[in-house]
Amino acid sequence: MDCYTANWNPLGDSAFYRKYELYSMDWDLKEELRDCLVAAAPYGGPIALLRNPWRKEKPASARPVLEIYSASGVPLASLLWKSGPVVSLGWSAEEELLCVQEDGVVLVYGLHGDFRRHFSMGNEVLQNRVLDARIFHTEFGSGVAILTGAHRFTLSANVGDLKLRRMPEVPGLQSAPSCWTTVCQDRVAHILLAVGPDLYLLDHAACSAVTPPGLAPGVSSFLQMAVSFTYRHLALFTDTGYIWMGTASLKKESQKADEYLREIQELGQLPQAVQQCIEAAGHEHWPDMQKSLLRAASFGKCFLDRFPPDSFVRMCQDLRVLNAVRDYHIGIPLTYSQYKQLTIQVLLDRLVLRRLYPLAIQICEYLRLPEVQGVSRILAHWACYKVQQKDVSDEDVARAINQKLGDTPGVSYSDIAARAYGCGRTELAIKLLEYEPRSGEQVPLLLKMKRSKLALSKAIESGDTDLVFTVLLHLKNELNRGDFFMTLRNQPMALSLYRQFCKHQELETLKDLYNQDDNHQELGSFHIRASYAAEERIEGRVAALQTAADAFYKAKNEFAAKATEDQMRLLRLQRRLEDELGGRFLDLSLHDTVTTLILSGQNKRAEQLARDFRIPDKRLWWLKLTALADLEDWEELEKFSKSKKSPIGYLPFVEICMKQHNKYEAKKYASRVGPEQKVKALLLVGDVAQAADVAIEHRNEAEMSLVLSHCTGATDGATADKIQRARAQAQKK
């Protein structure tokens, strides 16, 4: 162990640093790195090189070449640079390469050299050209800062949501600053720049001079400055040969924490030692050293009663993952702290981005991540990549994908299909959609691909009516009317949905639908409805009814046809009555029409109407009875009652008179009520005693009980006794 710290170099009083070689680079560089623009992505990301970047007048053969390598130098991409001169390169947090051109245009490339998009840093930059640029990282994403030829700064704190900000002028700045960098504090990006012996901090509102505390005197210029990844530390290199280091907020850091730690080290050291061994293993790069530290921890643990095992186990797992991705084939030399900050999800994304699907899946399985976050997600990415392989046939791709994915939960075949469609492979997309178990999910893509009829049946399968409706409206616009109706004809669920829609929004279409189906019954109903909802003039209404009647005949619904014709007659008649008699007749029912006539003393016309429309006797009697009683025309009522034998008996006469509180009239009819209802009638007019006599005479038990229940108070006492005696007698017999 004595050589363990041999390569530790002190840095200040309390820290050490060491350097070790991660990889012997795999690349084969023909030029000096200093002749290239170089950008290495943080977090063990890829390295980009642009060779010959600034040769302006050049033969076509000597165009710059953009090369991308993994951190271990494995080539990932190489392409001829055909755009304008590049000033600066940098990687975004999503591992996209940002190439800042002299004219302020930023070109964005993927890890594999695939062009993604471009954007401009604005007119001011275009006019004054880019002198220098920096790519920096904030909590919102990645930003670009530009120094223009006019010595002004423009920046965007997040290239994903481009908002350009022009920074204020630095007073008296005539030439380029000797060095500058971006600093992010409190979610705001600043620019720190050095002009001669002075340092300035630029924010979006102002430019203020700052002084690093404890800087050795005599500095006339700053040659370089560097800010730490977290923006907490700053280093300045002066022309006097000094390096100044401090916090970026330009205050001194507290040393207390460290001292505090030292103090408590005296107490109970072992658990801490074990914990430290575990942690130290995490920060070691070489598996051998990791192992010996873990072995030491494991040894120390034996002497402790209750040392929780999970930190040890977790560290072992983490180190396996880290060692796997650090392998030079993979080339992602993450430190433990970086890994923890990045999270496993992001690491998996990065593996997917490098198309390292098998390793990603192995890691998921090893860490037992839930399928939806782990394996299925990666398989889905793999499938999306797979559909882009144009040299493989649709059948093979679809089969390969289905074999791998099966029905893994969380895999969306429709997403993969959408990707296939995006690559112009419609047939493949349809094949892939077949594997999608949720039919509803298939619909939007099918519509996009103009497979509306298929979309319709899938939507219906899903049971989601809203989806069906969406497809219907698509179809309606896409197909001609005839085809559209034909499609509906075979889909009853969609048809009824569309009918509902038409009922509220497009009545005419509804009629067409019924016509097309030869649905005469519904056509008839449609015109009936129109006769009192849409039409106002009487001629229009009658015409609508005529159409309805014709339709009903075609539907072989004689009843409805006849009833409709009757209604036409009635309407015309009502119109005539209104003309001749005044008052309101239109839209009354036949019954109410006759009643109205009687109430207005038009008995003759009423009779005529009843005959014309063959109103049955019973109805007519009820009708007249009610109407005359309402008029309290007792004389006419009596005449009517004697016109012939009542088809409804005479009890209704008694009832209606009593309803009008006319006992006198009621009694007249009570005497004419037939024997079966006599008791009821007598009770109605309040003649309990006679009712009792009749009941006793009938020897009817039910009638006797009925009378008894009407015997109230002392007045009917004698009657009640009478019935009781009759009952007793009946029982004796």
Binding site: P409, R438, G463, D464, T465, D466, F469, T470, L473, R489, N490, Q491, P492, M493, L495, S496, L497, R499, Q500, F501, Q505, D517, N519, Q521, S525, I528, R529, Y532, A533, F559, A560, A563, T564, D566, Q567, L570, D587, L588, S589, L590, H591, F613, I615, P616, K618, R619, W622, L623, T626, I648
Partner: protein, 598 residues
């Protein structure tokens, strides 16, 4: 009088959670438009909204003015456009409940205001009306599905069931009957699969669920109700769990809105009772109350103080409720005797039992001739049709003619509706058609035969009520008087004359734990492919949870059915929970089918 539950009956789950969820979601939506705002509420949503968030809660979230809206889609656009004309700028949000349909957005687009408003969904689909009653408050479900064949609400229903299973655990045993029940069930299961994991491993709270289509049993819903709660609904219309008692009930000059649920102690004791018992119960109760008041006499100061501070309030409350229900009873009695209620009930019973058909038909004819009530006449015609497997052609024509003469020609459309729904049909002449029918009914279950379904659906839907009634023993044999004070079966809800078919089916299936042995009944119900059982293998369900049963009525259930199942629950140690698209009764069903002139 209200029967106690068996000691082993399970506890009901706490459904107030649903209210809290809905309220929180609404508040969240309101807060999306910060500051003062006016709220326009569709008339149908007023009462349900009030049960979730009353005015003071709305005011807390800066709702300034409340408006009731009668005409829905036109409103938002006219409002926005009026503001535009006046040069006024405001923010608008349209909240759709329980869900936003694609067509809603289309209407907004057509009106040219789509860009001006933001849309949101208030997924408020289940309103707990009582401790054991959840309503979706979707009265339109009945007409939309059973008449128009519109399946849009099935998704809403499946979502509601999904919500219940995420809140109260999975349902290990599922039964159902009817096409809509089956579709809803399948859609619901698919939802569960898509969001798997959420309910897995949870212990089921509610062990069994039963889904039933209203068209499996129209008869029960068409009968006059005679248990108190049903009668109150038939007479005064209970709306969203509360009823407006008019001056004739309150015996003052004001109407009073009264919440009817288990918290009303007086109501809770009489709600499930046959009406003939209610009056005597209430008068007994009044006497007891008087006695308690009377104890005041002879109290010393301290006792009196105690009485006033502790008992008086409760007594007064009880007094208030008691007088209300007595008032309601009197009002019901007055109304029912006027229309010769006894005659009506007698006719209904005759129809159910299938005797004196001619007499009943004449009764109905007279009912129509006298213009007693269009809805009542229609109801009796439907009851006659369903119990008799359709009307004989002569009656079918003459009753319809009479009806049109009495109530107006537009009802030609009503009859067309009723025929389509299978509520009022014509008997097939002779037996020649039965072969065709059976062929058609086979086709009907086949998805592809949509058009044929449309044309022949009413033919295929033979009700077979008489045969079913015989098979399931729906008409109890009466030896002597049926003692309505001590009911012996569910028939008590119809004065001992008829066991509600829907409830009998549920009883039988629960008893057999499936449809075994009911094949013939299922066939007679035209549901051969539409009766299902789904039992989960792993037995995590406690025996207690298995006795907790959620019954889902698609198309509405009546208070009589609720009372009957509550009775069954007490007998067997079950507790039933009811989920219905809306509480319904015969009048509501008939109104849903009626065409009225605009």
């Amino acid at each position: 009088m209200a029967f106690p539950h068996r000691p082993d009956a399970p506890e009901l789950p706490d459904f107030s959670m649903l209210k809290r969820l809905a309220r929180d979601q609404l508040i969240y939506l309101l807060e999306q438009l910060p500051g003062k705002k006016d709220l326009f509420i569709e008339a149908d949503l007023m009462s349900p909204l009030d049960r979730i968030a009353n005015v003071s809660i709305l005011k807390q979230h800066e709702v300034d003015k409340l408006y009731k809206v009668e005409n829905k889609p036109a409103l938002s656009s006219s409002l926005v456009n009026a503001d535009k004309m006046a040069g006024r700028t405001r923010k608008y949000k349209v909240i759709f409940s329980p869900q936003k349909f694609y067509a809603c957005e289309m209407v907004l687009e057509e009106e040219g205001v789509y860009g001006d408003v933001s849309c949101d969904e208030w997924a408020f689909s289940l309103l707990p009306l009582d401790v054991d009653l959840l309503s979706m408050e979707l009265p339109e479900f009945f007409r939309d599905y059973f008449l128009e064949g519109d399946q849009r609400w099935i998704n809403t229903l499946a979502q509601a069931l999904h919500l219940l299973s995420t809140l109260y655990g999975p349902f290990p045993n599922c039964y159902g009957i009817g096409r809509c029940a089956k579709m809803s069930y399948e859609l619901w299961k698919r939802l569960e699969e898509e969001e798997d994991g959420e309910t897995k491993g949870r212990r089921p709270e509610i062990g069994q669920i039963f889904l039933l289509d209203r068209d499996v049993d129209f008869v029960t819903a068409l009968c006059s109700q005679v248990v108190y709660e049903g009668l109150v609904d038939d007479t005064f219309r209970i709306k969203c769990g509360s009823v407006d008692f008019g001056p004739e009930v309150t015996s003052s000059d004001k109407s009073l809105k009264v919440l009817l649920n288990a918290e009303d102690k007086v109501f809770n004791e009489i709600r499930n009772e046959h009406f003939s018992n209610v009056f005597s119960f209430l008068s007994q109760k009044a006497r007891n109350l008087q006695a308690q008041y009377d104890r005041r006499r002879g109290m010393d100061i301290k006792q009196m103080k105690n009485f006033v501070s502790q008992e008086l309030k409760g007594l007064k409350q009880e007094h208030r409720l008691l007088s209300l229900h007595i008032g309601a009873c009197e009002s019901i009695m007055k109304k029912k005797t006027k229309q010769d209620f006894q005659e009506l009930i007698k006719t209904e019973h005759a129809l159910l039992e299938g005797f004196n058909i001619r007499e009943s038909t004449s009764y109905i004819e007279e009912h129509i001739d006298r213009q007693v009530s269009p809805i009542e006449s229609l109801r009796l015609m439907c009851l006659l049709s369903i119990t008799e497997n359709g009307l004989i052609p002569k009656d079918y024509r003459s009753l319809k003619t009479q009806y049109l003469q009495s109530y107006g020609p537009e009802h030609l459309l009503t009859f067309s509706n009723l025929r389509r729904a299978g509520l009022l049909t014509e008997q097939a002449p002779g037996d020649t058609l039965t072969a065709v029918e059976s062929k058609v009914s086979k086709l009907v279950t086949d998805k592809a035969a949509g058009k044929i379904t449309d044309a022949f659906s009413s033919l295929a839907k033979r009700s077979n009520f008489r045969a079913i009634s015989k098979k399931l023993n729906l008409i109890p044999r009466v030896d002597g008087e049926y003692d309505l004070k001590v009911p012996r079966d569910m028939a008590y809800v119809f004065s001992g004359a008829y066991v509600p078919l829907s409830c009998r089916i549920i009883e039988q299936v629960l008893e057999r734990r499936g449809w075994q042995g009911l094949d013939e009944v299922v066939r007679l119900l035209n549901c051969s492919e539409l009766a299902f059982t789904d039992m989960t293998k792993d037995d995590k369900a406690s025996s207690e949870s298995l006795r907790l049963i959620l019954v889902v009525f698609l198309g509405g259930c009546t208070f009589s059915e609720i009372s009957a199942l509550r009775f069954l629950g007490r007998e067997k140690g079950y507790r039933f929970i009811f989920l219905t698209t809306a509480v319904t009764n015969s009048a509501r069903l008939m109104e849903a089918m009626s065409e009225v002139k605009a």
